[in-house]
Symmetry: C2
């Protein structure tokens, strides 16, 4: 078997980001060249680097047999490295099950937006790869410990197709509600979710927990943390009607055993009914497929049955195609949750984004969110210098400001544009703070509390077509790209708003502000059966109340030829800060799918401020 | 004020380690040159790099005034960077108090032996510095959040003198025991240790905890974790007589409020008396002074009042001098704990180590431990190839095997030497696993479960002289260097063994095996009032029982001219696996400082196996 010296050991992943960020490209191109040279030099002893050009290799050649139960991780790492080094364009995994453990997996410090940063073990590390298709032939991959399945960084022309992945012990936990009071909830856990009550505290463990530590050395035991609770309806297999998130549990909850695999949890304010499935939400440490600083990535026929973060998270990349990707619990599983955060998420993207023929079900957050990043101005140091901060802890380290970049200057409280500045010198202090000098002085009214964004990112053209988006927590899709966005032929059955226009520079720090959106031929099937929204299509842009009246943050939205199935008098549209919206030729069907809300809103359209609206009442249709 | 582009933003710290580890030095020297070039290029716009040679600068020149309460962190970072870039050899902090916050501190991924790895904020980042004295003129530095005070990496000729540091909110917590039962302990906390009972769980917080999270975004609140308990005697201000560590609390403990700042903790098996101070031990995330891959470092007149890890931890370095360093709680403080782990600790060192005129008191582990690292053989791949693993989680990432290195091959269960091998190719898989090819085949009997060490590290000459080592948890000094070690003129008052000879390749994976030790003119003042040992001077080498009889792992120890003050019939010496030990001309004074142990051992010397012993009974002396 080949023993490959990989570049990963020598140059930590974070370097590639630092290279990308660097003001002085010439110096860094040299560094990059050295990096590649180093790799080739290291590889020379064991590989005929670059001399062969086989078109395809099989993982079988690396000593792994599907279904054998052996740890496929080292072989997969070596196979990817061989493809990269020799320019082989296709890696085939014959059908069958592959088992992967984190022990011998590649490891990198990863900062990934809207997920949790850290030193991660990685199943398929694709770093600096130029052209590779991984074809799973229908294979299923089972991960045996917390890790990131796929990490695509600094790469281009990557395809991943025909495979499914799951985790033997999900990163989150689930249990069935036996009884509930205002102060406690009784829960029964299946063997899929091992737990202990340790010193009176509920602790989720791995399949075979180690014995209690008896020295200062850590046990190496894997603990599965939780921070929040949410009830799912066990029959409908969707978030329970009007169930609320119960946050604030990151430090654990007091519990006592009340029966075999049964515990009473002393947590107040849980909204659930006996029979519901309570989901214990973890951190977002293990997204499924991370794409960063890459170009032209196709994910096709990939089933993401589980991961401990977002399913697909792409940042600072161009052209990402997600076709026939299904985020769903595995067939035959009793789990109500697929993955623990958004099905997909796109940050500071350019080029194209396509979500076509996908199923996004039962994930613990939105189906997608396409946005940019705002950094907050924390100090106005000089006319041409500011200190900025990434504010949302899950944006720490997701650096995006580079010398030469055109920065969009934005008033924080109103999101009002203040023009542009060109970054000249960028000095990173740490994963939170950066100093930025600009070519010319910035406007005087641009002050602490305002925000900057990359003016030329978050411009991807977006196509979301023929997808099923259902039974997940929260909303359907959050649209914030400034490129043309077409949303057509999808079916939404979401507990919150099906479509949300967000963007703010005071809480999430997600840059949005659409320019051209068409929402056409979709079915909105009894959405809003939960607490995450006040209408089927909604503006949630964060700005001062006064600004809402005049802001044109969101522009040119067309909503046509859709079918709205609603179970009570929820507004179809609740908007502000919009300039240009046509709502036309839509149909409305009334259902009795759920009980009516306690407080209903008779208006079909709720409008505050806004300009150039053309709102036609939908045609009422029978079932 | 100067705005300095620092190398830290471009080349993560881990790179320097990777450079150090690399087999192909020529390529990496290029990389190193580029690194420096990059720095100079970046600095050129703002600094006249290398052209000035002022002999000394003051932190005042960087806009910081002692006592002002302002955040000195950015100025200190800039001052160090200016010294480095311009070759300035002295940085002065005029006397007074400096406040430092982690917010704008440098940040690096640090793997540091026997402490916890991670992405750390750093107060004084000294990376790649060639010659710098930081003179605090008696200044005190107060850290306002979790961070590493000093990080010295890839540097040489560094002096830090005349300063003290402390943390406004200690990383650990302490509380006074009000009452205790076999199932619970009632504790009162002073305002120095803010806490909450959250969902029935004891949670230590920062000075101003944020309100409970209400969204999926983290609060940014700083939590102060704990994992174990240990009682201290409030009057004697040392670990309580025979108190035991209570481990296994990392996931929290159930608690309820029983009065103002009083809580009942439902933890069983705590050994404490009402009136004792219970110390809640944290992880070792924030050592005080980290030294790695460096040469010639002098710490002089430094008071380490607190840090959340070891006080001084040095690894893969040469010539570290610790003179007049005091690890003690700050004057006037009610805290019984100084720092949360060993006062000092030295791993894979060469050259000289000196601990002279120091006070190491009240730290939550040994005063020092000088040892090497063993990596465990996890796979014997070929006659000339093995896979090895760093086993202790706090050794993960502390890579030490480099191409060209002479490896010591050791039988794991017996620590029997099996000869040497020269590493030829070293492939790091991740922070745990590494593949090693050797120049020649290794012996057949060298198999899985055996261990390798750097045969030429852990050879430092050690001088420990005129130090006071008292009132800490566990032992005094752990001696494992293979260089000449002289321990003289010290006073020990430790609850465990004053001096321990360890080393094992099955649990701690610390390479030891002394060759030449002189223990002379010390006072062993009523040691062994706690549970961490069975004699004043002890061998604790980890090996199979059978091997103890014949092993010569520890060699040539002379113990002479010491005074042993003992309060009952504890052995002075309990040894095995020793070849050559002289115990001569020592004195014994009997005291009544503590109650006698429940089970006493009449023998003065307990010996198993061993060869070439010369044991003279000590002369009994009156007080």
């Amino acid at each position: 078997m080949l023993q490959i010296q990989t570049i990963f050991q020598l140059l930590p992943q974070s370097l590639s980001r630092h290279i990308a960020d660097n003001p002085f490209k010439r110096t860094l191109r040299k560094l990059s060249a050295i990096r590649m040279m180093t790799f080739m030099f290291l590889s020379a002893g064991c590989l005929e680097a670059g001399t062969q050009t086989e078109s395809s290799v099989s993982i079988l050649d690396f000593g792994v047999k599907p279904g054998s139960g052996q740890d496929a991780t080292p072989a997969i790492r070596q196979a990817i490295e061989e493809c990269r080094a020799k320019g082989i364009k296709r890696l085939v995994l014959p059908a069958g099950q592959y088992d992967m453990w984190p022990d011998r997996a590649a490891e990198m410090q990863i900062f990934v937006s809207n997920n949790d940063s850290g030193l991660k073990r990685i199943g398929f590390p694709l770093v600096g790869v130029d052209g590779l298709e991984i074809d799973g032939s229908g294979a299923s991959i089972l991960f045996h410990g917390p890790m990131v399945p796929f990490f695509i960084s600094d790469s281009q022309d990557i395809t991943i197709r025909n495979l499914a992945f799951d985790f033997v012990r999900p990163i989150h936990s689930e249990g069935k509600v036996l009884a509930i009071t205002p102060e406690s909830v009784d829960v029964e856990f299946s063997e899929e979710f091992p737990f202990e009550i340790r010193n009176g505290v509920l602790v989720f463990t791995g399949p075979k927990p180690s014995p209690e530590a008896t020295t200062t050395v850590k046990t190496g035991e894997v603990i599965y943390p939780y921070g929040n609770l949410l009830a799912f309806d066990a029959e409908k297999r969707e978030t329970a009607y009007m169930a609320k998130d119960r946050y604030g549990l990151s430090e654990g909850v007091h519990a006592k055993e009340i029966g075999k695999r049964q515990a009473r949890l002393f947590v107040d304010r849980v909204t659930a009914e006996p029979g519901d499935i309570l989901v214990f939400g973890p951190n977002r440490d293990y997204p499924g497929i991370i794409i960063e600083d890459s170009k032209n990535v196709l994910l096709e026929k990939v089933d993401i049955h589980h991961c401990g973060g977002m399913g697909v998270i792409a940042q600072r990349s161009a052209d990402v195609f997600v076709h026939k990707v299904n985020v769903v619990p595995p067939e035959g599983s009793e789990r109500v949750l697929s993955i623990t955060a958004d099905a997909t998420h796109f940050v500071n993207m350019t080029g194209k984004i396509e979500l076509v023929d996908c199923v996004f079900e039962n994930q613990k957050d939105d189906a997608t969110n396409v946005h940019g990043l705002y950094a907050r101005v924390t100090r106005r140091i000089a006319p041409d210098e500011i200190e900025v901060k990434l504010v949302h802890p899950q944006q720490f380290g997701v650096d995006f400001i580079k010398p030469g970049m055109r920065l969009e200057l934005t008033k924080g409280p109103t999101l009002e544009p203040l023009g542009y500045a060109i970054a000249k010198e960028v000095t990173r202090i740490n994963s939170e703070y950066t100093l930025v000098k600009t070519e010319a002085p910035m406007p005087k009214e641009f002050v602490e509390g305002d925000a900057v964004a990359d003016a030329d990112a978050n411009t991807a053209e977006v196509l979301i077509k023929n997808c099923i988006i259902a039974k997940n927590r929260a909303r359907g899709i959050l649209l914030g790209s400034r490129g043309k966005m077409v949303i057509e032929g999808n079916t939404f059955h979401t507990p919150g708003a099906a479509i949300l226009f967000e963007g703010d520079a005071r809480y999430w720090y997600e840059q949005a502000g659409v320019r051209d959106v068409v929402i056409r031929n979709n079915v909105f099937d009894n959405c809003n059966f939960g607490v995450w929204g006040n209408s089927v299509i909604q503006v949630g842009t964060g700005m001062d109340k006064e600004a809402r009246k005049t802001s044109a943050y969101n522009k040119n939205i067309v909503i046509e030829d859709n079918l709205f199935r609603v179970f009570d008098s929820i507004p179809l549209l609740n908007i502000y800060a919009v300039d240009g919206l046509k709502f036309r030729n839509n149909r409305l069907e009334r259902t009795s799918a759920y009980p009516a809300r306690q407080k209903s809103t008779p208006e079909m359209f709720v409008v505050e401020g806004c300009a150039n609206l053309q709102l036609e009442k939908p045609t009422e249709v029978a079932k």
